[in-house]
């Protein structure tokens, strides 16, 4: 699984993209759990959203290697 990283998420992971063959998540909720287990710093953010194919995804949203997946830390535009 390949995950795009932005903002503080890049600093937490130490890279612009996270490639994690060990992740087995079938949906967004499971992905968040795996992320926080591997990088506990994500639990400290005021929010942690996942985008699937360039849309905010609910916890139930199913994911696979075909999707474009991105971690969306708290946004701070404007």
């Amino acid at each position: 699984m390949k995950i795009l990283l932005f903002g503080v998420a890049k600093d937490i992971v130490g890279n612009q993209v996270l490639e994690e063959p060990s992740f087995k998540a079938k949906n967004v909720a499971e992905l968040k759990q795996e992320l926080i287990k591997k990088y506990p710093e994500f639990a400290k953010l005021s929010s942690l959203a996942i985008a699937v194919d360039e849309e905010y995804a609910s916890d139930e949203k199913l994911i696979s290697a075909e999707n474009e997946i991105a971690i969306i830390p708290p946004v701070s535009g404007g």
Partner: protein, 139 residues
């Protein structure tokens, strides 16, 4: 409704009237967000903006769509800058034009509030003699 939605290097505020003027519009309301020299009592040197561009444009389109349903608008603009921005440089510009001023004022406020809440763009602050930090707002 005509709309202009962009993620760009440099916002040019001198185009506001050209971009929003319309024969049926008696009112144009615009908000420009710029780099401020201070945040939480610390002197800011510059900001850096990063966007998840494809998704940011989709979210901006959704916000424009929602505004066009809620208010009677003739034209709408949403622009966000990326890259390094110095103090006083514009980083975001939103606005709308409408027959009467209630619509463009309310829509303009909605555009900036919703952009700040939803659009995947991140700001890093650079200070004097201190490490830079990604801004991670706590609601």
């Amino acid at each position: 409704m005509e709309k202009k939605i962009e993620i760009i290097e440099n916002i040019d505020p001198s185009l506001i009237h050209k971009d929003l003027s319309h024969p049926a519009s008696g009112g144009i309301c615009v908000f420009i967000g710029a780099v401020r020299d201070t945040t939480q009592n610390q002197k800011v040197n510059s900001l850096f903006f990063e966007a998840y561009e494809a998704m940011a444009l989709k979210e901006m389109e959704k916000i424009a769509e929602a505004a066009s349903k809620q208010w009677n608008l003739n034209r709408l603009i949403m622009q966000h800058a990326v890259g390094d921005k110095k103090v006083e440089e514009p980083v975001v510009l939103v606005g709308a034009s409408s027959a009467h001023r209630d619509d463009c004022f309310e829509a303009c406020r909605f555009l900036i509030d919703t952009l700040k809440e939803k659009v995947p763009i991140w700001k890093k602050e650079f200070f004097d003699g201190k490490d830079e930090v990604w801004v991670t707002p706590h609601p």
